[in-house]
């Protein structure tokens, strides 16, 4: 059971909420309260747009415990529009093949359940190919 840890991460994980440095405007994700660029305090909350591009990716066939329900799946390093790189699953690929540079957008999805079918459900961000108006 890891309920407290999941609960603390809710905001950051549901909505891609990080920080912005008030000194040099660097956008920070995941939040760490210290600016990686200038080393000063950075505690101002910042909601990312969720838009980015695939920087690199790999497909997982042998998934770790808890993720096997959705295997095979693709994990990507996504370069967010605002700068940071985040690691997340890609979803809703349909017939599309992931490729470097593919524009993606954040969606909140069910990541796994904590333990078996009795455990709490864990939701968080994934990325899908940008859905454009038809």
């Amino acid at each position: 059971m890891e309920i407290p840890r999941h609960w603390r991460l809710n905001q950051q994980r549901y909505g891609l909420v990080g920080e912005v440095c008030p000194h040099c405007d660097t956008k920070i994700f995941p939040p760490r309260d210290i600016c990686p660029a200038c080393g000063q305090d950075a505690k101002t909350t910042f909601a990312f747009s969720g838009r980015g591009a695939v920087f690199s990716f790999t497909t997982i066939y042998e998934a770790p415990t808890g993720f096997d329900e959705t295997a095979p799946y693709t994990v990507a390093l996504v370069k967010l529009e605002e700068g940071p790189l985040v690691t997340a699953q890609l979803t809703d690929l349909g017939e599309a093949h992931p490729e470097i540079g593919m524009p993606v957008e954040m969606v909140t999805r069910r990541l796994r359940s904590d333990g078996d079918e009795r455990g709490m459900l864990i939701y968080g961000y994934k990325f899908r190919p940008v859905l454009k108006p038809a």
Partner: protein, 359 residues
């Protein structure tokens, strides 16, 4: 508004209310009805109730779908989520038996913690029930904004008639004061009786239904009575409405209701989505409304009638305002989601919907 309420069956808020923002969601996967027919009735395709239905992906449920619909509604509303005082989500497929979907959605959109949150349940009319409650909260002056949503990931027993149509999707609305609205809600009327046409007992995976009992005494009686009474009380007739939307468990039922009430096929066309996405249960009538708002013009009047088994119908009289034009392009439209389509076969569907026994 007068201070003494007139003797009416209508629900009319003391302060005028309306829709500030709206959003739809439909998952990307489609199961053609002919696939279900191939597996269960030897491929017999005469009389299929729809063309295909929308199926959620492995990582989707009512929480994730609600979130996307509400986020679309917020994009159109352009309001600060911290001003939302209620998040009410109607569904019969909430992912937890105990623990609200609405608290997760409220937290994720930034509406928590100064907020009411609850999950509504009334078969396919849980979403419109949430809308009526939001009308009350805003119309009384207790709050400025409320979220009302209805979404489902409906399940039918394998091989059952419902398996052809039980689908996933829905819509969400930000309800607020009429003066900020892209469409005002002039009044609603609800017709509710104890009618056992469809049910699911606790711990049962799939619902039961009263077969032929579901049509006349349940769906048609409630939908037509609600629509007819609303129009009588409002002093309107079908020709006063540019558009109409009826609960759509299949293709024919809403077409027949429209015809029984005196509406033309043109009036229900933009909101009739069941042929291509199936029956989205709590989402079915209201996603028809979002698709209609996507094409409506200021001044257009819209009649919407939901139906929930058990049984009841909520009817709404809605008028589009000028504000719709500046807001509707701020988020994906209902048809954008319908156009995003990956066809799956029955085997993939069985895996996606957890129909394969793993232990």
């Amino acid at each position: 508004m007068t201070t003494t309420r007139p003797n009416t069956k209508l629900l009319i808020p003391a302060k005028p209310v309306g829709i500030i923002g709206y959003g739809a969601y439909v998952p990307r996967y489609r199961l053609p009805a002919r696939e279900v027919a191939r597996v269960w009735v030897g491929g017999r395709t005469s009389g299929l109730p729809i063309k295909e239905k929308a199926v959620p992906g492995l990582d989707e449920d009512v929480v994730t779908m609600s979130l996307e619909a509400v986020r679309n509604a917020l994009k159109r509303a352009g309001i600060d989520p911290a001003e939302i005082r209620a998040v009410w989500i109607g569904s019969e497929s909430h992912p937890y038996a105990v623990k609200p979907t609405s608290t997760i959605v409220a937290e994720a959109i930034g509406a928590a913690p100064h907020v009411q949150a609850a999950d509504m349940e009334f078969a396919c009319k849980a979403g419109t029930e949430a809308m009526v409650m939001a009308m009350g909260l805003i119309g009384s002056g207790m709050a400025r904004y409320a979220v009302a949503a209805g979404l489902d990931t409906a399940q039918g027993k394998p091989g059952d008639a419902l398996e052809y149509t039980a689908a996933a999707g829905g819509a969400a609305f930000i309800i607020g004061p009429a003066e900020e609205s892209l469409a005002t809600i002039n009044a609603s009327y609800s017709f509710v009786t104890d009618t056992p046409d469809f049910w699911r007992r606790e711990y049962q995976r799939y619902p039961e239904h009263g077969n032929r009992f579901t049509g006349e005494p349940a769906y048609f009686k409630h939908s037509t009575t609600a629509g007819k009474t609303l129009m009588e009380e409002m002093g309107t007739k079908p020709a006063d409405y540019k558009w109409a939307i009826f609960h759509q468990p299949n293709t024919k039922f809403p077409q027949r209701t429209a015809s029984l009430l005196g509406f033309t096929p043109e009036q229900i066309k933009p909101g009739l989505l069941s042929p291509v996405i199936g029956n989205t249960y709590a989402g079915a009538a209201i996603i028809g409304l979002t698709a209609t708002l996507d094409i409506a013009q200021p001044g257009d009047r819209i009649l919407m009638v939901s139906f929930g088994s058990g049984a009841g119908s909520d009817a709404f009289d809605i008028t589009v305002t000028e504000k719709l034009l500046e807001r509707r392009d701020k988020a994906l439209k209902t048809q954008d989601y319908i156009a995003r389509r990956t066809e799956i076969d029955y085997a993939t569907y069985s895996r996606f919907r957890g129909k394969i026994a793993m232990k």
